[in-house]
């Protein structure tokens, strides 16, 4: 598995800019009524803003020129009314547009989040949390203005542009050609600038994501940093990353900021050409002074929307890479998903069997190493199996496969005779109780954390679960009992206590198959023994898999599997294995002597 760190840029599949743009704007489709409403409002506002100059003209020519004071006053009132309509239209337009764009943002973010929930561990394992976060928060936020500007600037500017062009050509095609001769030049320039800046903006997003990942880790691991006196070093790393982040921004600006100047440049030549052709080659009397002056104005009217459009385009290019990164995740297919014809796993007894199972984490890469090869075993309902063996031999892998956290490459895993791949993930996992090595405690009360195992559990069930794992006493000693607020990751209570709460959370779900992956490693021996008695009573007759290193934990198992690099090398009851004097015996004696 290629793992991405905060030092490296992520690989984002290039999806073709236009495809991304089309896909982004297809979100507007669901709001078609609103968009039409916005366009209508804009029609009115554009019309009024075109009328305003006419009013001024008429005021000067028809009233001021002839000294009609009453008329001037009436005109003023008319203008006032017109502009009040204008202001209302602007309000409606803004409101509807922000409603649309905020709703789209809400939807995109939710879609993204929901999709991420479907993805399998391989996705989360291969990249830092901070980078995924950057996409959910930062990248989505940056789409906001693009959407609303697309509707509010793109269309009126485009209309103005076409309108001016038509007027110009109707008035005099020669002058028009002269004034517009730099357009091809401008097109080439803008195209070049944008294709370079697109790449650079993309780069900037990646650097920003690297920075995010590092900040996240540094804050999450602050104890390690302070304990190792590594603040100076992490600061150096941070400095490097911010420097790269800044440089990538400046780099992108270096190109992107040429947009406006390129247009200014072309505009200068256009103006020159206009006067050159108009004055020198056509000249008076074919062209009147008024026409020449009017053309000067038209050029301004022509370049303004181009400037706006290119600003918008620039913004689009800047933010399109954010959209690209969002779609990149949306397009990531979950490795592990329900088959289309997956069935609901009925209530199980708890028989588990592995048939010639082979598994590797990095299938198809050069580094491919088999973690499990041709492993077979079967476990009867109600059995307790202890998995022992050196670290890294694959004990956790075996239990992870039972919950189908990863898919195997060869062989079959059956639960009560059902092939894991043929049942729905939800119906499988809800019958499993898994306690992993990292017990994640959520922010919230102890009650909420325990109830996480069974959302509709009653108070009695919760207390029973807490009592079973011997957590009730310490919880009641806390000032607010079950309503004690736990902070992020359970800061403030000891790791052993966190383990007990996580344990209660697993117990409350009354799993059919219980998997304890070093679930009691941070709990003292006395408590552990009470926990064992408690869960034995609670889960009588259910299958369980226990990974542990403490002999006291292992000895109560019905059977022990000794797992080594070569798979399961020994299995049998504790007494059988002791007699055999094999691998288990050696492990055993190591702790005793």
């Amino acid at each position: 598995m290629a793992v991405n760190s905060f030092r490296e840029d992520e690989q984002v599949k290039s999806q073709g800019k236009w495809k991304v743009i089309v896909r982004l704007f297809s979100y507007l489709k669901n709001h078609i009524k609103g968009v039409i409403g916005v366009l209508l409002c804009m029609g009115v506002t554009v019309a009024i803003s075109l009328v305003n100059p006419l009013l001024i003209e008429s005021a000067i020519d028809d009233y001021i020129g002839v000294g009609n004071m009453d008329g001037l006053l009436k005109l003023g009132i008319f203008a006032m009314v017109l502009n009040i309509i204008y202001i209302i239209m602007v309000k409606v337009r803004m409101y509807v547009m922000s409603l649309i764009s905020n709703q789209i943002l809400l939807k995109v973010r939710q879609e993204l989040y929901e999709h991420i929930q479907k993805l399998s561990f391989a996705f989360f394992d291969s990249r830092p949390t901070g980078k995924i976060l950057a996409r959910i928060i930062g990248d989505v936020n940056s789409l906001k203005d693009v959407l609303s500007n697309a509707v509010t600037t793109l269309i009126p500017d485009f209309v103005t542009l076409v309108g001016v062009l038509v007027i110009m050509f109707l008035k005099d095609w020669r002058l028009s050609l002269a004034a517009l001769c730099t357009i091809p030049l401008m097109m080439v320039a803008l195209f070049t600038i944008q294709s370079f800046s697109h790449k650079r903006w993309h780069d900037y997003r990646k650097k920003s994501s690297n920075l995010n990942a590092f900040v996240h880790e540094d804050i999450a691991g602050i104890r390690v940093v302070q304990s190792l006196c590594a603040s100076e070093e992490t600061k150096e790393t941070f400095d490097e990353l911010t420097e790269e982040h800044k440089d990538s921004f400046i780099n992108a600006c270096r190109i992107a900021d040429m947009f406006g100047p390129a247009i200014d440049f072309c505009w200068g030549f256009s103006a020159m050409m206009l006067y050159l052709v108009g004055v020198k080659y056509i000249g008076f009397p074919e062209i009147s002074v008024g026409l020449l002056v009017a053309f000067g104005t038209y050029i301004n009217m022509f370049w303004n929307p181009i400037m706006n459009l290119s600003n918008f385009y620039n913004q689009l290019v800047t933010n399109i890479s954010a959209a690209e990164r969002i779609f990149d995740i949306l397009d990531t297919e979950p490795d592990i998903a329900d088959e289309s014809n997956a069935i609901e796993l009925p209530d199980i007894e708890g028989a588990v069997s592995f048939e010639h199972v082979s598994f590797t984490y990095d299938e198809g890469t050069e580094a491919e190493t088999k973690v499990l090869e041709d492993v077979s075993f079967s476990v009867k309902p109600g059995e307790t199996i202890a998995l022992v063996g050196p670290t890294g031999a694959g004990k956790t892998t075996i239990v992870n496969l039972i919950s189908r956290f990863y898919d195997i490459q060869k062989g079959t895993i059956l639960i009560d005779g059902y092939d894991l791949k043929e049942v729905s993930l939800h119906s499988l996992r809800k019958q499993m109780g898994v306690m992993t090595q990292d017990n994640f405690i959520f922010q919230g009360t102890i009650r909420e954390n325990i109830m996480y195992g069974k959302l509709d559990a009653t108070e009695e069930e919760m207390i029973a679960a807490a009592k079973a794992v011997n957590a009730h006493d310490f919880i009641m000693k806390m000032e607010k009992g079950y309503d004690t607020e736990l902070r992020e990751r359970g800061a403030g209570i000891s790791i052993g206590q966190r383990q007990l709460i996580a344990f209660a959370r697993t117990m409350i779900s009354m799993p059919k198959i219980l998997i304890l992956d070093e679930a009691t490693s941070s709990i003292d021996t006395h408590t552990e023994r009470m926990v064992q008695e408690g869960i034995a009573a609670l889960l009588k007759g259910r299958t369980s898999f226990v990974i542990a290193h403490r002999l006291s934990t292992i000895q109560n198992a019905d059977r022990i599997f000794v797992v080594s690099d070569n798979g399961i090398i020994e299995s049998g009851t504790p007494a059988e294995l002791m007699e055999k004097r094999g691998a288990y015996y050696r492990l055993y004696m190591a702790q005793v002597v």
């Binding site: 793992v3 922000s98 929901e114 989360f124 920075l211 880790e217 670290t391 800061a491 941070s522």
Partner: protein, 574 residues
């Protein structure tokens, strides 16, 4: 962190450059109509073709000049925003990093991330592009007003009145938005936190098949975020059209009022036309004002949030004139140490001394205060009563560097960075560590074999928190990381719990070789502490039993009970 203007002033030459470029660009803008006027009046109408090439060249120069200076202006502003934003971010980061552990226990990672990232971005914007526009608007308006004033000073009061009204509305809007933006920035942090927790706890979420629940949880915050953003939009909708209105009305009102004064013969019609033309030039800056006020307001809200963090002082401060020990021998003493959090006793009257090179074993029930002893040793917290001493000196009188630099702690909760294994092991001593030393430390931690079997060996990138490695492998890397520091004191806080017995024993053998190093070993397994010179057994924050392995067994107390549970049946076999 410094005040905002200090950051800005530090870069004054660049701002000056940007401003000069801006003035030149605006000047060229104003020059252009003059040139065209000459072309029309003197070349076109009077037919003086000789002047044409010069004038045409002037137009091109005008365009090119605008392009060049416009570029310098824009780029310099962007660069300044980025540079200052980055400087601020660094300062915030190093400030945050220096805060004490209890602050991090109480503050969410997601929130701190939002401050360091999103909030700085807002300020970055205002110091760059947005700032540029603000200045441009001001300069533009001022120069137009100047020209209008020359035409007719009385009528200049019309645009001034409009501008005062706009400014007033901008200020009111800014105030209203300020509150909303503060909420948005807060919710942004919450949203980040919710997503962050979900991603970090993904294994738990999946194990319980709780994806739906998590989606609902996120949806509620996502909706709240949406609502706040709509609130922001509504505020904007309430005020913003005013700027549009003022912008479009200004020329009309100017025409009409100007018209009256023409009718009263106070002004000629030509001046009126020019006057109206100028007022048109005020339209865009006024319309822009709304957006700018919006952006500035959002940045100010972010600034406030950042300031709050910056004001946060580290609860623990280093002694101003720390005692410097030339050489730390590694004798650690707890003298009548008590510690409590929120009036809840965690440790009470703990005393022990571990002489240099000796080993102290600590056992005790879950929550009995074992890890707190480690935290006090590193001075993550200060004891409420009593003293912790290093080589006889109260650690409060030493520098953090010396206290923490003398303790190498293997924490119970293994945290590895998503970086190469080598970088993880080197951490804390990055400059000065050779590959040999890394290998040596790895061999000590029994990690050498599995690391070297990996495709990229020490250069293998491991996932965040060491995903991809087994619990035992992670623990071994974190042991290697601590060992490689060669500190006088080694603390192992339940750090072999995920190791199989054989590996644990190998590590113990290595530990015994470290004769000069003081060792503190916290464990649940008897096998981990039995060889210690002294073992203390904690119960409810007090030392319930103490002595060597043999002494404690004879006592037949808590330690003995634990022994029986762990080895009871073994004795029968033996």
């Amino acid at each position: 962190m410094k005040k905002l203007h200090i950051y800005v002033l530090k870069h004054w030459p660049f701002y000056l450059l940007a401003l000069i470029s801006m003035f030149i660009a605006i000047g060229l803008d104003m020059l252009y109509p003059q040139i065209t006027k000459v072309i029309v009046n003197e070349v076109f109408v009077s037919g003086d073709m000789n002047r044409l090439p010069m004038l045409l060249a002037a137009i091109v120069v005008c365009g090119v000049g605008r392009a060049i200076f416009g570029y310098i202006k824009e780029f310099t502003f962007d660069r300044n925003g980025a540079t200052i934003g980055t400087e601020m971010r660094r300062d915030i980061f190093s400030h945050v990093q220096g805060l004490s552990i209890d602050y991090f226990d109480q503050t969410n990672t997601g929130e701190l991330m939002a401050r360091v990232k999103d909030d700085v971005d807002k300020i970055w914007n205002v110091l760059g592009f947005v700032g540029m526009l603000v200045i441009e608007v001001v300069v533009h308006v001022a120069s137009v007003l100047y020209c209008m004033f020359h035409l007719n000073w009385k009528l200049t009061f019309v645009p001034i009145a409009f501008m005062i009204a706009s400014a007033a509305v901008a200020i009111i809007m800014e105030k209203k938005l300020d509150k909303v933006y503060e909420d948005i920035s807060e919710e942004n942090a919450i949203l980040t936190t919710v997503a962050e927790e979900n991603l970090a706890g993904v294994r738990t979420v999946k194990a319980f098949a709780r994806e739906k629940f998590e989606i609902e949880k996120f949806l509620s915050h996502n909706k709240r975020y949406y609502e706040l953003n709509m609130q922001q939009s509504k505020t904007l909708v309430r005020y913003y059209p005013f700027f549009q209105f003022v912008g479009t009305m200004l020329p009309v009102v100017c025409t009409i009022l100007g018209g009256f004064s023409v009718l009263k013969q106070e002004m000629d019609i030509g001046s009126l036309v020019a006057y109206v033309e100028y007022s048109r030039n005020c339209t865009w800056p006024m319309q822009m004002l709304g957006w700018l006020a919006n952006d500035v307001s959002s940045a100010l809200a972010s600034k406030k949030k950042i300031d709050k963090i910056v004001k946060q002082q580290a609860n623990l401060t280093e002694s101003e004139k720390p005692v410097i020990l030339d050489e730390v021998k590694g004798e650690i003493t707890f003298e009548h140490v008590s510690f409590s959090v929120d009036e809840k006793e965690i440790l009470e009257d703990i005393s022990f001394t571990v002489p240099q090179g000796k080993t102290l074993g600590i056992m005790g029930a879950t929550g009995s205060g074992k890890s707190t002893i480690v935290n006090l040793m590193q001075r993550f917290f200060d004891p409420v009563e009593g003293e912790v001493r290093l080589d006889g000196v109260n650690i409060k009188d030493l520098s953090f560097q010396q206290v923490r630099g003398s303790n190498a702690v293997v924490m119970q909760d293994v945290f590895l960075f998503s970086d190469t294994i080598a970088e993880n092991i080197k951490m804390g001593k990055r400059q000065a560590m050779s590959l040999e030393e890394i290998q040596k430390a790895s061999a000590f931690a029994q990690a050498k074999n599995f690391i070297e079997e990996l495709e990229h060996s020490y250069e293998t990138v491991i996932g965040e928190r060491g995903v991809g490695l087994s619990g035992g492998q992670k623990q071994r890397i974190s042991i290697a990381r601590a060992i490689s520091k060669e500190c006088p004191i080694l603390v192992m806080d339940d750090s072999t719990s995920a190791l199989d017995m054989e590996t644990e024993r190998e590590i113990q053998k290595e530990l015994e070789q470290l004769k000069g190093t003081t060792k503190i070993i916290i464990a649940h397994r008897i096998s981990a502490v039995r060889h210690a010179d002294e073992i203390i057994y904690l119960e409810n924050g007090r030392i319930a039993e103490r002595g060597t392995h043999e002494e404690l067994l004879e006592k037949k107390g808590l330690y003995y009970d634990t022994y029986v549970v762990q080895y009871g049946e073994v004795s029968v076999w033996q």
